[in-house]
Amino acid sequence: MKAAVLVFPGSNREGDVAQAIELVTGRKPQMVWHGDGDFEKTDLIVLPGGFSYGDYLRCGAMAAQSPVMAEVKKRAAQGVPVLAICNGFQIAAEAGLVPGVLMRNEKLKFVCGDVHLKVETSQSLFTNRYQAGQVIKVPVAHAEGNYFADAETLKRLEDRGQVAFRYCAPDGTVDGSGNPNGSIENIAGVFNDAKTVMGLMPHPENAVEPLFGGCDGKALFEGLVEALS
């Protein structure tokens, strides 16, 4: 699997996701600077976490207008898979690659720590190595991860199986106790209509080694490799 990780001014988890990809594929992904309009053909595009443009406007709003995003949108429309994590999710939402928006956390504070996620479906490029209903532990680190979509969009997401992950308690119960940011319906990650783009707030790339937060995020990358190689 050939992957490209986009780097915007203020990206800061591009190294983490590059490390996770290298761990799983044995090779370094291509790092693409935002100013470059074009980049090599790849099997996967990653929009990494961070604070692109300092989050000084609405999170992701500036990066979504970056030259390289026009190319990302074009390739996504052609079906090239896009994994958008945290600030990447915010950018993808701003760019219209995935439905919904990400608002300030309900408690108005940055939150970092492990959360539990319920895998909603194994029927996707990104989740094929998980079982539907499986509970995994991965960290979050964000101040604006409060997912929101209107009722109509939500219904469509639910009906079409476009919810990827939901925050839950360690035993899998989906209720307020496991929700770190107030996201509607505990939604932690969603797909686009074609399920070729996934946006999620948690950081699977920070859960790929037993000594450093566990391995529950590794299957996401392994699944991608299997599907895209």
Binding site: P9, G10, G35, F51, G54, C112, N206, G213
Partner: protein, 747 residues
């Protein structure tokens, strides 16, 4: 353009105020210090020159009251690459890698404007570390606030924590450890001490000493604005009722720009373009240009009109004294300007050649072709005031007999009260606002161990890091307190299995012109120096913050010790979480039941008295080396040093962190009253959880280290035979609820 270097007085600018004794006083220069200035200059200074002397001779920049004492600290060891005097200390951690680290205070600004004060504190210490060529891999912070009931405390906690998080999170550097205390003595002066640890190849370390006459002096980063003018002078004075009006002297942080600056600097450092580099911190362009020239034994011409400016109408005085953040000064090799310019422009940062090095040993400032300042550099350094201020040592109070301290009437209630007191209560509300996981290298997270342990990128090594001080001990007897702060940092590193290597110290004290405060400083230094020597734990960097007083009321003397250690195989590091049943619980070290200055005495008896627990450094070392050896031998599942709250608090922390209970009892034959045994704060002690208690006890006997079996892990409760029986859920709730309830309460 060539600027003539001459001794004639520089031109005065239009509207330049007259220098009167009042103007001199407003610049924080004492009359005799101004006399000294006149002697050096041989004429009246211009305003910009006066401003430069004022900044360079401020306590903050010159260490004039502390210098004579700081020299007593040991700074050498075979693994020390760079000791105090540079932007940060550098130690060799093997495999061609160096750890670069320092702790620095941002106390005064954080009290006036908590969010920006704390944020720029983090920004400043990060720059100190990446200026030397290191990529920062971890941040820590030590915070002291006033008593929770004080009307400002909640606001200050909220702002400081948000500011630290706001800066560090955006920079993408994990904040992995620290400490937070509350005490009435900090009501008018909080302490915000921030530490950064970075990694660089040992052969790619950058220093501040300028070299090469004619080499270009380059300014990069943010533009210069009017923020933070006189910040260094503010940080060198006591607060009074008008301190709030000093808000304009606080700088405003822009972590996004600093992130770009970090990446741009590291990119430039990968080339061979840099001769010297220095960040613009306190006293901005003044201290950075001055220090670079002074260290290189050179002169410098600075064309101030070339400095990128944020506002129109700025004058040389403002440009030299602004503390605008996210700026660096670089001496480049000749001909490398374009290479460097391309890198900074790629990162959308300002880049300007603002001067060049000369051989005159003078700092010449020009403004649109006119010389506006012309100062000889060496005398400003060599003839800087140094004070051996009068000092009175604090006498050692009489030791408190445990018999004079009542036992708790209700043991369960006493433990819950202690675990929920502000100093011991969980600080999860704080560190969950810090990204402590970014970079994917955090092996031991906050609250999971005595020190944070972070992987050194690209290998299997780990760095253990911690920050420690027990101000109530230092207040009671500075020498003992200084010794204890170093010993505790060493112990915390040891408890993870790492080898303690070196220290950065952040000395926070009151007004040094009071003999008793200077005595606290002197005493603490003597204690620290002894401990650093005995434990082979040199001081490689540090910072002094004096005048932490408001209306004559000083803070508790607080020499914060930041420390770093290394563990060769990070897989062998242990935390303090008790996660398994059936483990033997072994107490290492001797318990005499020392209750003087203990948390039990303060929180449950309402008394702050007696002598603090003595630290026997030979015993400390022996016990620590033993514990580290047992961890290396793979015999230890969890380890926790004993400090605040003694044995019982330590056990409770291990239990709730790992979700496993214990059943223990005081060993037979100890004549110590139970409350002294369980709550005493004797030093040099650890609790070890291990699958083979017999092996550890036998090894301890062989090593001559006191060790006893207390009981075993297991069950849902913490049980001390006949005294305490509490479900972990109750302890956890008491421990975790205090801070969020306090912060969420509305007044």
């Amino acid at each position: 353009m060539t600027i003539a270097v001459e001794k004639n007085p520089p031109v005065k600018l239009p509207n330049e105020p007259q220098i009167t004794p009042q103007v001199v006083a407003e610049h924080g220069l004492a009359p005799d210090e101004y006399e000294r200035l006149l002697r050096i200059m041989g004429r009246d200074p211009t305003m910009v020159e006066l401003g430069i002397f004022s900044a360079m001779w401020s306590e903050h920049c010159s260490y004039k009251s502390s210098k004579v004492w700081l020299r007593k600290l040991p700074t050498q060891a075979p693994w020390v690459i760079q000791g105090p005097g540079e932007n940060a200390g550098v130690i060799d951690i093997g495999d061609g890698q160096a750890a670069i680290f320092k702790m620095e205070s941002h106390n005064h600004p954080s009290y006036i404007e908590p969010y920006q004060g704390a944020a720029t504190g983090v920004g400043g210490i990060l720059r100190d570390v990446f200026t030397m060529g290191a990529r920062p891999i971890a941040n820590l912070n030590a915070l002291r606030f006033g008593e929770p009931s004080h009307p400002k405390t909640r606001h200050l906690v909220s702002g400081v924590v948000a500011g630290i998080g706001g800066y560090g999170n955006c920079m993408g550097i994990p904040t992995v450890g620290g400490e937070t205390n509350f005490h009435a003595a900090y009501n008018g002066n909080i302490l915000v001490n921030a530490m950064t640890v970075g990694i660089a190849p040992t052969d790619r370390i950058f220093y501040a000493a300028a070299a090469g006459v004619g080499n270009p002096l380059v300014y990069v980063g943010s533009k210069t604005g009017r923020d933070g003018i006189h910040g260094a002078s503010m940080a060198s004075a006591e607060f009074d009722q008008d301190s709030e009006s000093k808000r304009p002297t606080v700088q405003v942080g822009d972590p996004f720009t600093e992130k770009l600056l970090l990446e741009a600097c590291l990119e430039l450092m990968a080339t061979d373009a840099i001769v010297a580099i220095q960040d613009m911190g306190a006293a901005g362009l003044t201290s950075s240009s001055f220090e670079m020239a002074a260290k290189g034994g050179l002169g410098v011409v600075v064309e101030l009109d070339k400095v990128p400016m944020r506002e129109t109408g700025m004058n040389p005085y403002e440009l030299m004294l602004s503390e605008s953040q996210e700026r660096m000064l670089i001496v480049l090799k000749p001909g490398r300007e374009e290479l460097a310019r391309r890198i900074f422009e790629k990162w959308e940062l300002d880049f300007a050649v603002i001067g060049r090095l000369t051989d005159t040993e003078r700092m010449v400032l020009s403004w649109h072709g006119d010389v506006v300042g012309n100062i000889p550099i060496p005398p400003l350094v060599t003839e800087a005031p140094v004070y051996e201020r009068p000092w009175t040592l604090t006498e050692l109070p009489a030791a408190l007999d445990a018999a004079q301290v009542p036992a708790p009437k209700d043991w369960n209630a006493s433990l819950l009260a202690l675990m929920s007191c502000p100093d011991l209560a969980s600080k999860a509300w704080i560190w969950h606002q810090y990204d402590h996981l970014i970079m994917g290298n955090t092996a031991i997270r906050p609250q999971d161990g005595d020190a944070a342990v972070v992987r050194v990128p690209g290998g299997h090594k780990g760095l253990a890091m911690t920050s420690d001080c027990t101000p109530r001990y230092v207040q009671a007897h500075p020498e003992t307190g200084g010794r204890q702060a170093v010993a505790e940092a060493w112990r915390n590193i040891t408890a993870t299995g790492a080898r303690p290597l070196a220290v950065t110290d952040n000395m926070n004290f009151g007004n040094p012109q009071k003999p008793e405060i200077m005595g606290q400083f002197a005493g603490a230094i003597v204690g620290m120096a002894e401990a650093c020597k005995a434990l082979d734990f040199p001081v490689v960097s540090g910072n002094v913050s004096l005048y932490n007083e408001t209306e004559g009321k000083p803070i508790l003397p607080t020499p914060t010790i930041g420390a770093v250690g290394v563990i060769d195989d990070i897989g062998k590091a242990v935390g303090s979480r008790l996660t398994q049943a059936g483990l033997a619980i072994v107490l290492v070290g001797e318990t005499k039941g020392w209750l003087g200055q203990s948390l039990y005495l303060r929180e449950l008896c309402g008394r702050e008295e007696g002598a603090p627990p003595p630290v026997d450094l030979a015993v400390e070392r022996r016990n620590g080396d033993f514990v580290r050896g047992q961890i290396a031998a793979g015999r230890v599942d969890a380890c926790h040093d004993l400090s605040d709250g003694g044995l019982l608090a330590g056990l409770a922390e291990m239990c709730i962190a790992g979700g496993t209970g214990v059943t223990v009892k005081q060993p037979a034959g100890t004549a110590i009253p139970s409350h002294a045994f369980l709550y005493g704060e004797d030093q040099g002690r650890y609790v070890i959880a291990c699958s083979s208690g017999d092996d550890v006890l036998a090894a301890a006997r062989a090593a001559g280290v006191p060790a006893v079996l207390l009981g075993y892990s297991g069950g849902p409760s913490l049980v001390v035979d006949g005294l305490v029986s509490l479900p972990l859920s109750a302890i956890k709730q008491a421990h975790e609820d205090w801070l969020p309830s306090y912060m969420n309460a509305t007044e």
